[in-house]
Amino acid sequence: MTALPVSTVLMVTGFGLVLLGYSAILIHRNILKMVIGFSLVDSGIAIIVVALGYVQGGTAPILDADTTAATVFVDPINAALAVTAIVIGFAVTAITLAYAIRLYRLHGTLNVDAFTESRE
């Protein structure tokens, strides 16, 4: 059977990770697991971003000694966007973890149902 195109495999894993992340966020009531869920979503998105940039038979877009005019390159923009996505993902996960710790210190529990003081 024809080999599955690499980018499709990558995209499936990426979207799978995103779905996994959101299911973790929605199902687990422990906010640390929600934070892990969010970081899963971020890594999933990073994979998707790279997968979308894949060109058939392309190599990394670095023009070193052995690249000729005919070399096919992968889309460099997606690689650049992926770097930014990863850094921002890391930053936001760090601050979410900080808030989770702060909530734990204030309330003594990590259960999300305990944090509904202001509502309606």
Partner: protein, 1029 residues
């Protein structure tokens, strides 16, 4: 080099450079840190405002490229007129918020740098033209907010921050994915190229990507039902931060959405529906809020939704030359008023909505809060009003009545809960709370709100100029009010005289209307001045009374002279506001003032909608041009009539009147009943002219007549059951207004002459009665019928005045009342409405009954225990004498009033209608007043003689008085308070709906994430289904 300094790029240099520099400055010294922040913030503001001014003047756009390459290779920023205006105002607002935020953020460098970079983020959101860069700036704003939310240290605060983060992370993920997928589908990241490529909404990749980006930005603006997390932050964050998010942050977000709108050309309908749902739901939920900041949160989400509706609809119907004014008007109004509200509420330590803040004792703060509340409610003279007016008219032209309804109903809810909070805040706070609030008010607390209020006023003037309403008639009342406001420190008497002088002089400056308005003008002015003169009877500074009375009287004059619908409506709103604030001056009357205001605003919104529809039909906005064309638009006329009838306290919608008249101070009640109610009559007459030539004329006349008559009878019956004088007179004035409405309903020359005649007589009579009753209450200390009694000897002059007034009102021969009743019955006969004439007769009899009841209760029978301490004060008596003089003059020389009245009406009618039946002269011919007057005098003399003999016998009078006071015409069972129960049911129903609406916000972070995901799915499903137009 100096150009660089004031180049918009400076925003980013100061923002980031300053942000990076602050930690180093902090280590050098705290003074350096503060200096660094101030320089950076000032620099950023200048780099936003100065180039903005030059761009707005010259109109050409500043294109900023980065990395020395042209887009699409590099990222570019645009600083065009739109971006300049929004950037400058948002950055300026952020700078002012920094002042009120100073206390909380001055200690450490972290909040300072976060605030700086977040403000830069907002500017980035507005100016960048690259989709991924838009995502980066969205992240800068979000992460800046996460950091700043660390300042709310309360438990609820930290929870709210966590919910805010989890929800906005979903939104950012969507925007990121959407941006990358759009790049995949179209090969562009530059927004302008994306718009050119116009990816189809239904395409699998492009469509889903567009749905992701749209849903991402919509979620950021906290739509209903996926916006609960935003409210928790508004409720718990430090007020200046909440203001920053609600005003500056949202400015960036909605501009970003506006920038991407061309990508969603087909989906504008979907956007409007989503925004309308959010607008209605958040204002509904606002009704039920107890926490002030959560309430302001709901209101600010509602305002953003309104801005989104305007953005989507105006682009949809292609109103491009009007769109900038409407959008920027709504935006600046929300920006300034909401920021001011948050800062002021924070400074006043407001927490619960029903917590009194004793603002009545601090007029400056009350005025400030009042300015913001009026502005947010979209009332003149602030920019929000001009924008909303133009928006409604555009919607009417685009045949979108449902949307008009949604916007106006939502605005009514918003005005209701804002004013309810405002009136509560006026109340005297318990000692502990007010002490703590007093000493805390530093300059930093007050300066930003004052700055916001000043900008609001400037914005309002600019808005008026833009919509061509900056004429003498709109400005004069405000100037008069402001002048008297400055004169507040003067003693009461001088202010009263000054007010009368200003009003008189002012009315001369106003343009002289002709026709019916020309008639109403002098009559209402004279009556108003005379009654206002009675204000002298109340010594003391009476803070706030004189400016509002001046605004009231002059606005009525400008209302009558209004050439266009906008001028009429602006004056109408000034009258409403002035009356409401006058009523609300008395602490006990604040509940009634709120009800009065809600009903008046409902009426005003009906007028706005009605006029918009009719103007859209006629294609012109000048009142008299529309009248010349005549209009067959049933819904438009119905709305106008409903609006005017609400203000004329017709049956069913009269519930606001008795309470307002009874609770307000006596001279204000006299003004309201005698003068202000006539504005509604004038409105009905205008509508009458409008439908004169259309086929609706008969139905219009019939319905008006029956409503009028029903109001008269109901009013009279209710008056008979009142135990308190002012309520009795309130119902009596409702009943008399019913007469006038019936007269207008006759839709004939004779009918309208009667109506005008009744207007004059009712004004005179009600003026006397209310002032007399005021004198009685003044002297006897109570306004209950049972407490008074036997005052004939103690207050003979008042008794005489009341006697004349009651005689005239009841329609007995000698006085002008008889003339009006005679004409009314004659007109009804002529029209052939026999059953109406009979009802009229019954009503007159009932009228006579309650008038005699009032007179005997007050003046005859044994003197009550308290007894009066002598005659009422001359300041009260003099106006009454003048008014009685008016009655006598008009009774003995009716031609004095008849000629101008029939002349005023004639040209309109005669020119167009062939008259059947007697003209006025013939009727008048056979009724020569003088012999009639003499025979009446003889009859009255005989009657008094008979009465005198009866009085000799001690027992007859007291028993008669007791019977009259207690007797009630119908058993209470037969007269259930239908209207009150109906309106109470309406409020209960609205509250129930509001509770179901807000129950979806369970406060659970997980639920909020779920709701955001479902919201995205809803957008993703709905977007491709839209038929490509």
């Amino acid at each position: 080099m100096s150009a660089l300094h004031l180049h918009p790029l400076g925003i980013y240099l100061f923002g980031l450079g300053g942000g990076f520099l602050l930690p180093i400055l902090y280590q050098v010294g705290k003074r350096w840190l503060h200096a660094g922040f101030v320089v950076a913030m000032l620099g950023m503001t200048l780099c936003a405002v100065v180039p903005a001014l030059s761009v707005l003047q010259s109109g050409e756009t500043i294109e900023i490229t980065t990395a020395g390459a042209l887009p699409p290779v590099s990222i570019n920023l645009r600083f065009g007129p739109w971006e300049a205006a929004v950037s400058a105002s948002a950055t300026l607002a952020a700078a002012m918020l920094a002042i009120s935020f100073w206390q909380t953020i001055r200690t450490k460098y972290v909040p300072l740098l976060l605030f700086l970079i977040a403000t830069m983020g907002v500017n980035g959101l507005i100016q960048t033209r690259d989709l991924f860069n838009l995502f980066v700036f969205l992240e800068i704003l979000s992460v800046g907010t996460y950091g700043l939310l660390a300042l709310s240290t309360s438990r609820a605060g930290v929870q709210a921050a966590f919910k805010y983060i989890t929800a906005t992370m979903v939104a950012s993920a969507l925007v990121l994915l959407g941006a990358v997928l759009l790049y995949k589908a179209t090969g562009h990241l530059n927004i302008d190229l994306l718009i050119e490529a116009a990816p189809p909404l239904a395409a699998p990749i492009a469509g889903t990507a567009l749905a992701m980006v749209l849903a991402g930005f919509l979620i950021e603006m906290k739509p209903y039902p996926a916006g609960g997390w935003g409210l928790d932050v508004y409720e718990t964050a430090p007020p200046p931060l909440a203001a920053f998010l609600s005003v500056v942050g949202s400015a960036g977000l909605i501009f970003a959405l506006g920038k991407l709108l061309p990508l969603y050309d087909q989906a504008l309908g979907l956007l409007t529906v989503g925004a309308a749902l959010t607008f209605l739901a958040s204002n509904l939920a606002g009704l039920r809020q107890q926490n002030v900041f959560r309430l302001l949160g709901y209101s600010s989400i509602g305002q953003m939704a309104l801005l989104l509706i305007a953005l989507a609809v105006l682009t949809d119907i292609g109103a491009n030359e009007v769109a900038p004014y409407v959008l920027f008007g709504l935006f600046v109004n929300h920006l300034l008023a909401k920021a001011g509200l948050f800062c002021l509420a924070g400074a006043l330590r407001a927490r619960r909505v029903d917590q009194p803040l004793s603002l009545a004792a601090k007029p400056a703060l009350a005025l400030l809060l009042g300015v913001f509340v009026v502005a947010i409610a979209g009332l003149p003279p602030f920019p929000g009003f001009w924008a909303k007016w133009e928006l409604i008219l555009q919607l009417a032209e685009a045949q979108r009545p449902v949307l008009i309804g949604v916007i106006l109903i939502g605005s009514l809810f918003e005005a209701a809960y804002l004013f309810r909070w405002f009136f509560r805040a006026l109340g005297p706070a318990e000692k502990s709370e007010s002490e703590e609030a007093d000493d805390a008010l530093t300059l930093q607390d007050v300066l930003p709100p004052v700055g916001f209020a000043i900008f609001l006023a400037i914005g309002g003037a600019a808005g008026a100029m833009a919509s061509g309403a900056l004429t003498i008639s709109t400005v004069l009342p405000l100037l008069a009010g402001a002048a008297l406001l400055l004169a507040e420190p003067l003693p009461g008497r001088i202010k009263a005289v000054a007010m009368l002088a200003i009003v008189a002089a002012g009315s001369l400056l106003l343009p002289r209307p002709e026709g019916i308005a020309g008639l109403f003008g002098p009559v209402l002015l004279a009556g108003g001045l005379v009654i206002a003169f009675a204000g002298m009877a109340w010594p003391g500074p009476r803070r706030g009374h004189y400016p509002w009375v001046a605004v009231l009287l002059l606005s009525i004059q400008s209302l009558l002279a209004a050439p266009t619908g906008l001028a009429f409506y602006t004056a109408w709103e000034f009258v409403t506001l002035a009356s409401a604030f006058l009523i609300a001056r008395r602490e006990a009357a604040r509940g009634e003032a709120l009800r009065f205001l809600i009903f008046s605003l409902a009426a005003a919104f009906c007028l706005m909608a009605g006029f918009a529809m009719i103007a859209a039909d006629a294609g012109t906005r000048s009142i008299y041009a529309i009248i010349a064309l005549g209009s067959g638009d049933g819904l438009g006329v119905a709305l106008l009539v409903t609006g005017f009838l609400i203000k004329a306290a017709a049956i069913g919608v009269h519930v606001w009147q008795p309470g307002a008249y009874a609770e307000a101070t006596d001279d204000v009640t006299a003004l309201l009943s005698a003068v202000v109610s006539k504005a509604a009559i004038f409105g009905l007459l205008l509508t009458g002219y409008l439908v004169l030539r259309s086929q609706m004329e008969v139905e219009f006349g019939r319905t008006l007549a029956w409503i009028g008559m029903a109001t008269t009878i109901a009013g009279a019956l209710l008056a008979l059951r009142q135990a308190e004088t002012k309520r009795l007179l309130a119902y009596s004035s409702m009943s008399q207004l019913g007469y006038i409405v019936t007269a207008i309903g006759l839709m004939g020359h004779l009918g309208w002459v009667t109506a005008l005649y009744l207007v004059a007589s009712h004004m005179l009579v009600k003026g006397i009665l209310f002032l007399a009753v005021a004198g009685v209450a003044h002297r006897t200390g109570s306004s209950l019928l049972a407490d008074a009694g036997g005052l004939l000897r103690a207050m003979p002059v008042t008794a005489a005045m009341v006697a004349v007034a009651l005689l005239s009102m009841s329609g007995l021969p000698p006085l002008m009342g008889f003339g009006s009743k005679w004409l009314l019955l004659a007109a009804m006969m002529e029209k052939g409405w026999a059953e109406l004439a009979i009802a009229g007769a019954i009503a007159t009899f009932l009228g006579l009954w309650y008038m005699v009841r009032l007179f005997t209760a007050l003046f005859l029978g044994p003197p009550a225990a308290g007894g009066a301490r002598g005659e009422a004060s001359p300041a009260l008596l003099l106006p009454q004498v003048l008014l009685v003089g008016g009655i006598l003059v008009l009774s003995f020389f009716p031609k004095l009033l008849m000629e101008p009245v029939s002349a005023a009406i004639d040209p309109e009618f005669a020119a167009t209608l062939v008259w059947q039946g007697q003209s006025l002269e013939t009727i008048y011919g056979l009724w020569d007043p003088t012999p009639m007057m003499l025979s009446a005098l003889v009859a009255v003399a005989v009657l008094t003689l008979l009465w005198w003999t009866a009085v000799r016998d001690r027992r007859v009078v007291p028993t008669a008085r007791a019977a009259l006071v207690s007797a009630s015409p119908l058993p209470p069972a037969l007269m259930p308070p239908l209207a009150i129960t109906f309106w109470r049911g309406v409020t209960a129903g609205t509250n129930r709906v509001a509770d179901t609406v807000r129950r979806i916000y369970t406060g659970n972070a997980q639920t909020y994430v779920l709701l955001t995901l479902l919201y995205f799915l809803a957008v993703a499903v709905a977007l491709p289904l839209i038929p490509a137009r």
